[in-house]
């Protein structure tokens, strides 16, 4: 019975895969290196040649700090040049360098209008040979996101859209459908406890809000390290660790 069901599901999966563009399979994907997160994604990681969308939570919807660093960490783990399109040049690069993104790899394209950011992203995606194209946008309409998704599929470049609104109340726009393959919300959480006073490694609450052919999930992770890697943080495990450490240090 179970074997029959398995074979049916396998067959369906194969048929769906055949319907999807062959490019996407060829481009492969970029694993997070966190087994729980990779398991939630259909091909075991973030697909190259697809559009991924990130937003912050709370006041992060306006500053987009955590979302940008999350995207930078992903971009740092790709190979090749990165094109970063934006309208508000308030990114502080030393922070990006600390998650392993070298300044020589990143070309910034600053434009006046939000629509230009989408057009520039599309141009970068269809150029090919880039590691990733990152764009900081306010609005991501269905048509615009579809164009980005198609351009990304064509060349196998990863498209990362960081959503950043002008006001926190505008952020309910994030519920609107777009053509992105995955959609994430990254909110800042209190940092890890240290045995001494001070700010420990930052933690993020990462919500996978939408994924094609997959299910939503949420993770509490430790923020990007100097190579852009994340690390799963289980609250209870940490709490059990910290007294041990403090005893050790005492």
């Amino acid at each position: 019975m179970t074997a029959a069901r398995e074979s049916v599901i396998l067959d369906l999966r194969e048929r769906i895969a055949a319907l999807e563009t062959s490019m996407m399979k060829k481009a492969g994907c970029l694993a997070f290196g966190v087994p729980e997160m990779d398991a939630a994604l259909p091909c075991g990681g973030l697909a190259h040649g697809a559009l991924h969308e990130f937003a912050g939570g709370g006041s992060g919807t306006v500053d987009g700090a955590a979302a940008a660093l999350f995207a930078a960490g992903i971009a740092a783990r790709t190979k090749g040049p990165i094109v970063w399109c934006l309208t508000r040049p308030d990114l502080f690069f030393p922070a990006l360098a600390q998650v392993g993104l070298h300044s020589d790899r990143v070309i910034f394209v600053e434009s006046d209008k939000d629509e230009d950011v989408l057009a520039n992203m599309e141009e970068g995606l269809s150029f090919g040979g880039l590691g990733a194209v990152v764009g900081e946008v306010v609005r991501l309409p269905m048509v615009g996101s579809r164009r980005l998704q198609l351009a990304a599929e064509r060349t196998g470049t990863m498209a990362l859209a960081v959503r950043r609104w002008r006001r926190q109340t505008e952020a309910n726009d994030f519920g609107q459908p777009t053509a992105s393959t995955t959609r994430w919300r990254v909110s800042v959480m209190p940092s890890e406890d240290l045995p001494v006073p001070g700010v420990g490694r930052p933690r993020w609450f990462v919500e996978l809000m939408r994924v094609k052919a997959g299910e939503c999930a949420e993770f509490l992770v430790r923020a990007c390290d100097d190579k852009g890697r994340l690390d799963l943080s289980t609250g209870s495990a940490d709490r059990s660790h910290s007294p041990g450490r403090s005893v050790h240090s005492a």
Partner: protein, 472 residues
């Protein structure tokens, strides 16, 4: 400066000191000498002047606009339509032009107007450095100007003066027929050109070294596909020419001459010498839609305004190909669309807002990196924002802060990280100190705040608190 015409010697130019002494242009040389003892007289050299002006014109051609020409004996005229946005708009462009001349100890007068005639008159009439006549206000701008600025032969100007005409406005309001009868059609033509009733195309300056390919059409063309086709062919021709000379193009202009005598120009630049057909075609194709064919295009001209030697590079052929994507075509596409394209590079400075500089996107890789021991925020506020903080002096982090109207209780904090002012930048930074803290509030939001001053010595700062960045 003394010019000779026949046996007459007269003053053709005078500097500020001479003008103060009462010397003015047009005065006989003997009279000027009588006015002021020890006046330095220099013989004018019109040939050298013309050569220098031509050099400046060619320089302007490479920088500002595809259509640039010498205007009279003392001016340069440029068609800046569609070229000003590359310099950040009209006002920054004229200021920049004036400043460029000032830095070479030359005084320039710059005017932008709807027509060549109006710009010519305004540039010579103003006492300021630069003026921009708003579109459609030419009449208002020029009606009070003297008729000598109308680009008429001196004979006609003199005769008009003796008839009592002083300003261009008076002349424009006079019946045309008697003037035509008396002076010929020249006055009417110049007036019409000034007010934009008659087109006055600018014949761009050219030298022998400029590589230029052109194509004239028997039958005017207008369809977008046709234009694209011929632009493509011109590019192939231009590349052939460049190849013969071993050059690569840095800046190319496409000049479109239309049936009605008007010209339109499209400029494309590259970050490094290029001789790639696909690359150049893409740059021009991107913008051929901007061409307005009007009644049809008679002639297309493609000029390599700046060409530089192109070094051929031997590609290593190893078994394991290490693919490095050359992104310069992409940089060119962005740049020609008028977006700012740059890379960021470290600068040796401890002050956060000074530690990042923008460099050209095509610049060589940068070896140095930021020192990574200390935490840096992802977003740096454009300028530090004043906050109210409750903190124990001298070196404790704040216990709570109020930023943008929201009160936050500080749960965890790191710091201080002391940053000293850079006295070699500004004298006022001699004693200045900033103490930076990383703070985290109850909801986990992390901010970068600093106190100006070390908390003890009021010389080092005001002891007020600022928020400077947002961590992820």
């Amino acid at each position: 400066m003394i010019a000779k015409s026949g046996s007459k010697r007269w003053v053709s130019a005078a500097d500020a000191a001479a003008k103060k002494a009462g010397v003015h242009v047009g005065m006989p040389a003997a009279k000027a000498q009588a006015l002021f003892r020890g006046l330095m007289l220099v013989d004018a050299d019109p040939v050298a002047d013309a050569a220098a002006l031509e050099r400046i014109t060619l320089w302007a051609l490479t920088i500002y606009s595809p259509i640039v020409a010498v205007d009279g004996i003392d001016g340069i005229v440029m068609d800046t339509e569609g070229a000003d946005h590359l310099q950040g708009g009209e006002l920054p462009m004229v200021t920049m032009i004036a400043n460029r001349f000032l830095s070479r100890k030359l005084t320039a007068r710059v005017a932008i107007a709807d027509t060549w005639g109006a710009a010519h008159a305004c540039a010579r009439a103003i006492s300021r450095e630069a003026v921009i006549v708003p579109s459609g206000q030419t009449v208002k701008a020029v009606e009070k100007l003297p008729i000598s600025l109308l680009r008429l032969p001196p004979k006609i100007v003199g005769d008009l003066r003796s008839l009592g005409f002083q300003t261009i406005g008076e002349l424009a309001n006079t019946a045309r027929a008697p003037l035509n009868l008396r002076f010929g059609p020249e006055i009417g033509r110049r007036l019409d050109q000034m007010f934009g009733r008659v087109a006055e195309p600018i014949e761009p300056i050219r030298t022998a070294e400029l590589i230029e390919v052109a194509r004239s059409f028997v039958e005017p063309i207008g369809a977008a596909e046709t234009i694209n086709k011929y632009v493509g062919r011109l590019i192939v021709q231009l590349i052939d020419e460049l190849q013969k000379r071993g050059l690569g193009v840095r800046r190319a202009d496409l000049i479109v001459e239309k049936v009605d005598g008007t010209r339109q120009a499209i400029r494309a630049g590259t970050v490094k010498p290029a001789r790639d057909i696909a690359w150049l075609t893409k740059l021009f194709r991107d913008r051929t839609e901007k061409i307005e064919p009007g009644f049809g295009i008679e002639k297309l001209t493609l000029v390599a305004v700046i060409a530089e030697p192109l070094e051929e590079v031997q590609r290593s052929s190893s078994l394991v190909e290490e693919e490095v994507t050359d992104v310069s075509p992409l940089i060119d596409i962005y740049g020609n669309r008028g977006h700012k394209v740059y890379r960021l590079a470290p600068l040796a400075s401890d002050v956060p807002e000074r530690s990042v500089q923008r460099i050209s996107a095509a610049a060589d890789p940068v070896e140095i990196a930021w020192v990574g021991h200390w935490r840096r925020p992802v977003r740096l506020l454009p300028r530090p924002e004043l906050i109210t903080a409750i903190a124990l002096m001298p070196d404790y982090p704040p216990a709570s802060i109020t930023w943008r109207g929201k009160r936050r209780k500080v749960k965890r904090a790191d710091g201080p990280e002391r940053i000293f002012g850079e006295w070699w930048q500004r004298d006022s930074e001699m004693e200045a100190v900033r103490d930076y803290f990383v703070i985290e509030d109850e909801s986990g939001e992390r901010l970068w705040v600093f106190r100006s001053g070390d908390g003890v010595d009021p010389e080092t700062g005001s002891h007020r608190w600022f928020c400077h960045g947002i961590f992820a």
